[in-house]
Amino acid sequence: MKTPFLKAVFSIVRKDLQIELRSRELVSSMGLFALLSILIFSFALELDRNARREAISGVLWVTIVFASVLGLNRSLAMERDQGNLDAMLLAPIDRVAIFFGKLIGNLVFALVVGLLLLPIMTILYNYNLFQPWLIAVLLLGTFGFSTVGTLLAMMTVQTRARESLLPIVMMPIALPVLLAAVRASTNILTDNPIADWIAWVQILVVVDIIYLVVCFLLFEYVIEE
């Protein structure tokens, strides 16, 4: 009688992508914000090559985090404002399917913005960011951040001060992901030996798994009134 789990998840992902292709609201606002941020950082941080190289990972993650917050707020507001979350909750689907559907959509949008940043920052900062390990860390960090962000945005979107509340609630909880991602990225960009920083990548993987499991378990409680 229930709709198969994966069918429900991919219906939601497909719907989010279809809406984004139609409106281009999320990626364009996130992308514009990200572009402006790295331009400001680029002008503000007129450093020598070595100092600049150490600052790149900070700039990259600050930009991705705040652009993601922007996207998360809008993505969940779309479900709340017209009551669409209720419409999905009325359907005979596992409620956790809504979480995974929204998570995949949010992750795709954040990754698109993250991957767009790489060539732009490569030009602005005159340093090659197309490094396999850096891209792997970008994927893992964005996944962790999107996981916890989707759950928290589902909570804060029901409040009046949702725009300001989400980053306030999210940053302390996402700190382990951010810390591991920034440390790993800095080490990768400063060409440190892999043995010095692989532990940060491992921490990132473990934290991602913990967040995914915790969010999976908590989602049903979060969407209750």
Binding site: M1, K2, T3, P4, K7, A8, S11, R14, K15, Q18, I19, R22, S23, E25, M78, Q82, G83, N84, D86, A87, M88, L89, L90, A91, P92, I93, E224, E225
Partner: protein
């Protein structure tokens, strides 16, 4: 004032027993007992804050009761909500549609969530869009629709999976005269089709004309419950005033 239960519980499709719903310390429904038979069209009336929307959300499984029992088709809510949800269509004063998708895309999305086979879903969508008078606007984004058109599409969404029960929460909000008349016809057709309908509304004349039974909620309990046979808008208005003012005086 006559207050009676219109139906025996033996034949009820929906039943609440001593249903309590409180938000924090504020009780909204206070030991509400209600029984609704299959095929009834119940107009749920009452002043703002009397618990109409809360009751509909509880029956839809969108909200959990603080105490008491809800049985829908023999299933207990919220524990056995999944089979109940497949049998419920809901229309709210919010349209529950995606503005950036067109009419057909919206319905296709919900058809997938209700696990309707693609070919059958397309056929049903075409039929429903025709029925609600939107066949010519099927490829237009919902954001370009008037409020009345959005509400008609919302009804199509609610009927998509052919539910036994329709829950309508103030569906006439913001509709003009023509759109209201179209909605009247859609609801008459749905009722004739054997659906059980529960509609909260502030429009007493419409309630008397469309529904087969009227229930007035007052301060979280049933203040009046009777068939609409022999009732017109004026008579119902007098009953409504009497029921709600008595509750206020208590």
């Amino acid at each position: 004032m006559t207050q009676h239960s219109a139906l025996s519980t033996q034949h009820s499709l929906i039943e609440t027993r001593a249903l309590v719903k409180a938000f924090g310390m504020l009780p909204v429904l206070r030991k509400l007992d209600l029984s609704i038979a299959r095929g009834e069209f119940v107009a749920l009336l009452g002043p703002n804050g009397s618990g109409k929307s809360t009751l509909l959300r509880l029956l839809a499984g969108l909200s959990k009761p603080t105490a008491g029992d809800i049985l829908v088709g023999g299933w207990k809510l919220p524990q056995e909500a999944a089979p109940v949800r497949a049998q419920i269509g809901m229309v709210s004063h919010k349209v529950l549609l995606y503005e950036n998708l067109n009419a057909r895309e919206n319905l296709r999305f919900f058809a997938r969530l209700y696990n309707l086979p693609a070919a059958k879903a397309d056929e049903r969508i075409t039929q429903l869009l025709d029925q609600v008078g939107l066949a010519r606007r099927t490829h237009d984004p919902v954001r370009t629709f008037s409020r009345g058109m959005q509400q008609r599409l919302s009804i199509a969404r609610a009927l998509l999976h052919n539910p036994d029960i329709l829950l309508l929460d103030e569906p006439y909000t913001g509709l003009d005269v023509d759109a209201s008349a179209v909605l009247d016809n859609l609801l008459r057709d749905a009722h004739k089709g054997g659906r059980t309908i529960i509609m909260s509304t502030h429009e007493l004349g419409r309630a008397a004309a469309l529904a087969s039974r009227v229930v007035i909620l007052s301060r979280g309990v049933v203040g009046y419950d009777a068939p609409t046979a022999g009732l017109d808008g004026l008579r119902l208005s007098a009953i409504y005033t009497e029921t709600t003012s008595m509750a206020s005086a208590r």
